[in-house]
Amino acid sequence: MSLTTYRADLHIHSLLSPCGDLEMSPANIVAEACRKGLNIIGITDHNTTRQALLIKQLGEKQGLFVLCGAEVTTREEAHCLSFMPDEASLEIFQHYLDAHLPDIKNDSEQFGFQVCVDKNEQIIYEEERLLISALDQSLEQVEQKVHELGGIFIPAHINRPRFSLISQLGFVPTDLPVDALELSKHTTIEAFKAANAYLADYAFIQNSDAHFVNDIGTVFNLLTLSHRSFEEVRKALRNLQQKNVQK
């Protein structure tokens, strides 16, 4: 079986996130990802997946593989990337997010617009509740839900001084089952591991966390897969981790 190395940027916001630029439409995201030579992207809007499926569909037509998910804000205000394996699980996960997002209304002047568009960039939905609120679910509860649905769970930018496991808890709980840990671009994997020896055996990825079109693909990972599928991505992350353990 032949293996191929793919470029993957797994942390990209659409215009649905309040902090996502209005130019981050599905069409623009796919176009820019292809232009930058990305093969795999992950859509991770704050506490919602509503824009992701369209991006996946548009991506498919351009040979781009898209993971659909969300950047979930736990009760502790830690961000976690959460991807779903298929449409059915995505729908269940969206219900879960809807059920646990507090009923605090957005103020688009303060936080930005939260709109969903169709492939022609026409607004089809506006999210009324503020998406950057914290869910009333703990870190453990979110992880359990994601894995229960067969998803991939990756605490986001854990090295950042805000909204990360380390900023919110002071450390990474080593009994939390994760598929990888994400670092922001402000460090290197080597430097971070050197400073956090207890995490040396984890799989680490770095992504763009793009909120603007130009940032898409400015950071990416090289994942080696036999073909592009959700399970293959999960396996690739596990392989990253096993490579560490074998040392």
């Binding site: 605090i104 503020l130 609120s133 805000r162």
Partner: protein
């Protein structure tokens, strides 16, 4: 009590948002979790926190906080200060840690 009286009573530094120093204080809320503040702070409350980013001002504005007190000598990020000045919401500084400043403010206004 107005914010300007609070500044002298507790020896606070006025870092920005001067336009609001006549704001009337209705109480205070101490928390570093944005979602917690959003759900629980009241109109006119002073918000005591160690968070220094611009979303602090977005929430302070949304919830009509009378001022934000940054603890432990922390300074606001440039964009937080800018927003404070835009919105006219005072950002005040203290060298005291959260427990001490909360205690002093509590005694002052109760």
């Amino acid at each position: 009590m107005k914010i300007k009286e609070l500044i002298s009573a507790l020896n606070l530094t006025l870092i920005g948002g001067e336009k609001g120093i006549e704001n009337e204080i209705t109480g205070a809320y101490t928390s570093d979790l944005l979602s917690d503040v959003m759900g629980n702070i009241h109109d006119g409350n002073v918000w005591i926190t160690l968070q220094t980013h611009k979303n602090v001002m977005a929430i302070a504005s949304l919830r009509d906080a009378s001022a934000v007190i940054l603890v432990k000598g922390l300074q606001p990020d440039a964009d937080m200060l800018e927003k404070a000045n835009e919105e006219g919401i005072p950002v005040l500084g203290t060298d005291l840690p959260t427990f001490e400043i909360s205690g002093k403010l509590y005694q002052l206004i109760n």
